[in-house]
Subunit: 436 residues, 2 copies
Amino acid sequence: MNIILLSGGSGKRLWPLSNDIRSKQFIKLFRNNNGDYESMVQRVYRQITEVNPLAKVTIATSKSQVSAIHNQLGDKVSICVEPCRRDTFPAIALAATYLHDELGVGLDEAVAVCPVDPYVDNTYYKAVNKLEALVSQGTENLTLMGIEPTVPSRKYGYIIPESKDYISKVKEFKEKPDKETAKQYISQGALWNAGVFAFKLGYLVDKAHSMIDFVDYRDLYSKYETLTKISFDYAVVEKEPSIQVMRYAGEWKDVGSWNMMAEVMADKVKGNVTLDEACENVNVVNELDIPILVMGCKDMVVAASTDGILVSDKERSGQMKPYVEAISTDVHFAEKSYGTYTVIDAQPGALTIKNTMKASHQMSYHYHERKDEVWTIVSGTGKVIVDDMERAVHPGDVVTITAGCKHMIIAETDLSLIEVQVGNELTLKDKIICNR
Amino acid sequence: MNIILLSGGSGKRLWPLSNDIRSKQFIKLFRNNNGDYESMVQRVYRQITEVNPLAKVTIATSKSQVSAIHNQLGDKVSICVEPCRRDTFPAIALAATYLHDELGVGLDEAVAVCPVDPYVDNTYYKAVNKLEALVSQGTENLTLMGIEPTVPSRKYGYIIPESKDYISKVKEFKEKPDKETAKQYISQGALWNAGVFAFKLGYLVDKAHSMIDFVDYRDLYSKYETLTKISFDYAVVEKEPSIQVMRYAGEWKDVGSWNMMAEVMADKVKGNVTLDEACENVNVVNELDIPILVMGCKDMVVAASTDGILVSDKERSGQMKPYVEAISTDVHFAEKSYGTYTVIDAQPGALTIKNTMKASHQMSYHYHERKDEVWTIVSGTGKVIVDDMERAVHPGDVVTITAGCKHMIIAETDLSLIEVQVGNELTLKDKIICNR
């Protein structure tokens, strides 16, 4: 079984833990079987391989998520990187050609596409596995998995099947309805469209060639930027007459707001947090080093990171988007291939950053045009290379890097360094990668 | 008129803005006549001098507050520094001898003692001025100002006067009563004892000599540590037969909790704060650089500093003390004589600190025994002296200071520097001041 996980864009709905760089699927609020914290993407990968140890997982995502995926999953998954965001049809077309041209997956093999972010139990991935058998029978071109509605929600599109059978041909698709209409749909046996599709790889490769003029994966990659933004639902699913749906009635939660996240996170509180005994139904996530004290609060969520602090009534937290968009968008936390990057102070003309590095990891060799940097190693040992000169570094060592100096650091042990950037124009874009 | 302001100890009741070093009277949540933020101590000094431009103000306080007082009031007030905390009788005795022996105040002059922390309007200091006239008449040894109770509070001691007249002899004093007893007291014309006393300086100097064996201010200062802790109320007020009280019915608020502070602070929110339109009766103080978003909250206070984050129901905030005491007591913010000191990152073996300095101010010349420091100048210009070698510094310059190196910096302009401390034992105590 091949599974393409669509790892969607940046999200503000779990601000301040999600931001323009860190999507919500990388926040570690769940726990694995050993009791360690894990993120949604780690949880999903674990569940898939618990259900089917032979599953081959490819994550379709943007460049900005590659470091986080490597950090969290190592080399266990393939990554199909979209050069830019072009909605789900181009993303799935690129992933399909990647599977065929780069990974050598046969055109007759079954492929399932799943979003990376619903909170589910293992029965969900058992159901995804069943899709493979259905695809292999070859009766229909497309096989969907529909979620049995628990409430007449207005948040989802609906799949209207021809019958209420476990597997049924699809009659039609309906956009997000009002509540009354949703009730009608449900009485007809309608299902939520949760974006799970399965097909033979050849079906999708053909579909891609019929809609886009390209030769192979590399060619498609190179012209990706020119593609029209269109969803897989509009481009393919809703136009396909040979289509069936399988019902899924197990656990499925859309973790699209703090209110929902509070229901499924492993612990009521995470981090340095004190709740007094008068608190009721309060969840707190504290990624800062400083303590949070919550007293006499009810039905609330508090979340703090270096990007900001949210204090919200749980119900209200779903309305957060416009407020967060109005707030400064400086990103103060990012997962890097080498570890983490946290802005601990920002003032005009200077940024102070805490970098943590994992043993045996390194930064890319690069220079900046318009900023000077001062690194102070505060823990661990490693090797620094500045303008091709190499030296060993230990705690207390200082490395001064003026604009134009090429530099990198290789961590031997786990390592932490404080970086002070000084300059009139401090942007992440001022970074030129060099060869060594 | 001489006024001794008692500037009390550290407080946790306005945590995280007050801490072991920063007492609540230094938090800037009020506004002066120009609309600029001011602290309680700035407000009190402004009010006193608005009412009586000739008033001579002496602040009796501990060593730890001297820098903050200099920062906030410059050289406009005298400061009588207590070598250690010994409650109010030794503090007032020391201040009285300081007035006489150091400032040359005559023994016949009137002195009023006021706490620095009630929130009042100018009529309060007009009343304090009236005490001077009463003291000068010389009919009684001690003249108190009593606050007309607004509710039968259990939080205050009560003064029972002989009559309900504006000025009356005092019949007796009562400890904090229960509510019913408080009602009885009030029906007899009782007043809250708010710690305002006035007397001729000679009265108190004599009283001090009768109770403590000392020669003069310097001698008293040198043996201060040996003195018994006792309050001025117990030691003097409640034993004095020649005592009268003047009623005060104007504004007077005890800002002893966030609930009360929320009532009197100049703005509902201070700092980088967004409230959604569903918030009701919410106050937020944000001293951090990162934004705070509050949604759908009612009757709450949120306060954030580098020491921590409080999210509390207003009523509950009065119960904070035991919770705050259980939280780590590392101090992350302090006002220094040169500016401010803010810990922006703490990890095992390393502290990162942002120091801001005011133009023409300097750090003391000192060294550390067990830590190395790296300074990066991020704004402003100044002069650094390391082991008696002087050099000019500008933004981007780095100063490395190994353990044992004597060092200081003199700010020419306003200046900001990031300091990284590295060592196995990072305490504020590891600081040896040197001569230069």
